[in-house]
């Protein structure tokens, strides 16, 4: 009996403790497309060095998933999408606070740990040593949709269909390729340029003309109303420093 009461007191202490540990006023929750993972880490570091009273919380995932969540009022302040289509739909649903700001164009590459994709280009996928090809899920990941388009452009889609393994987002796709579980991955240039992948393997740029462009943009969401930190971060993305970081990770204009 006394044990029960002491547990109850601990529980009450924890619960009341959690109420006082509310998030600090300047907290910004950012939903970022998975291809921005490494670029975002650099952006947040650069931003926080200048304004360390604003805490940026980052969640990475596929743009389509974030679109679904934000449509259902997920508490994100800013949404960075790998495809302008998603923020545009949110704008129509009146979920946005400010106009969409484009920040660059993404690019698709073939990446492999063991092979050099630049030798054969797209035909690398037809090699017999390639048994698994990783792509992002075309249903909700923009890079997956473009990968499918490129494959169909080169008339390789039906030939390599059984070899395809689907990553939940472009990050997981890159991870499949980086461990060698997939012999080749069709991933984002921004991920291929990351320190982890640069030293692990080689990439080949897939000609952008073979798929729809990956025009990327970010938008402030309704949840950010009154959140000065969010607006400051959004303004920072337009600065020269931020543009340089994005350019370094391959987000050309």
């Amino acid at each position: 009996m006394s044990r029960f009461f002491s547990i109850l007191c601990c529980y009450l202490g924890l619960v009341t403790g959690s109420h006082t540990a509310n998030p600090p006023p300047q907290e910004v929750l950012v939903a970022a497309a998975a291809d921005l993972k490494f670029a975002m880490d650099s952006l947040v570091k650069a931003f926080s060095a200048a304004s360390n009273d604003i805490s940026i919380k980052l969640v990475c995932g596929s743009s389509g998933n974030f679109y679904e969540q934000i449509s259902n009022d997920a508490p994100f302040d800013i949404f960075f999408s790998a495809d302008l289509g998603y923020p545009q739909k949110l704008e129509q649903q009146h979920k946005t606070l400010a106009p969409i700001v484009p920040y660059g164009t993404g690019q698709l590459v073939l990446w492999s740990k063991k092979l050099d994709p630049s030798k054969e280009g797209m035909n690398t996928l037809l090699l017999s040593s390639v048994t698994h090809i990783a792509i992002a899920n075309p249903a909700h990941a923009p890079y997956g949709q473009r990968a499918e388009e490129s494959l169909k452009h080169y008339q390789l889609y039906d030939k390599v269909r059984e070899k395809l393994v689907i990553g939940e987002n472009i990050s997981q796709t890159a991870q499949f390729a980086s461990t060698g579980a997939a012999d080749v991955g069709i991933i984002a240039l921004s991920l291929a340029l990351s320190p982890q992948l640069q030293k692990e393997g080689k990439y080949w740029l897939i000609p952008p003309a073979t798929h729809q462009p990956l025009k990327q943009g970010f938008v402030l969401l309704q949840h950010a109303k009154g959140n000065e930190g969010a607006k400051k971060f959004a303004a920072f993305i337009g600065s020269a420093r931020a543009r340089a970081i994005l350019k370094y990770f391959g987000f050309g204009e």
């Binding site: 009996m1 547990i7 109850l8 601990c10 529980y11 924890l14 619960v15 959690s18 998030p23 929750l29 998975a34 993972k37 919380k57 980052l58 969640v59 990475c60 995932g61 969540q69 259902n72 009022d73 997920a74 508490p75 987002n169 990050s171 997981q172 890159a174 991870q175 980086s178 982890q196 992948l197």
Partner: protein, 212 residues
Amino acid sequence: MTDWQPLWLSFRLAFITTVLLLVISIPLAYWLAYSRRRGKAVIEALISLPMVLPPTVLGFYLLIALSPSHLVFTFTGLVIASLFYSLPFMVNPLLSGFKSLPPALREASYTLGKSGWTTLIKVLLPNIRPSLLTGIVLSFAHTIGEFGVVLMIGGNIPGRTRLASLAIYDEMESMNYAAASKYALILFTFSFSVLLIVHLVNNHFSRPDPLS
């Protein structure tokens, strides 16, 4: 530098869930053990359902149920989800504990004039201590391991819903294998220790009585 927040969130969720489950499950298990209602099998099946259902099914229904009240993407929402997810792990040990008690024990207490409540608190519960411990420990450990449901209704928000199980998944996706294996090792060690304690305690309590 390990980020301890996901581990702390997981432990907090497991603790709160376990305490709440204890409060809910004792009356529930008591009723299932001693009442004579006909529909008990249905209730028992419903309670055991989360053990068998794929977590994504549970997550799917919870998403639909919790969305209107804006509890999705919140820690409170995760607590509610965990109550369903870990319910069988508290109720079933308690239920088998109650059922294994000789009926004479309860009846003796009644004939001595004790109320149902006093009997429960002073006679029955102290005699099913191993089951109580098993229930508490298993619900706690099971909630720590929650992944599928949290992935569907949590939103992976750092500091609020990014539990340790999700953090491992995140670090793997970002190719931070060192960080992922640190979390994995901590959780592995914890789960193993917990099960070791449960088995040691149960073996101790089920030692054959040298006097009987």
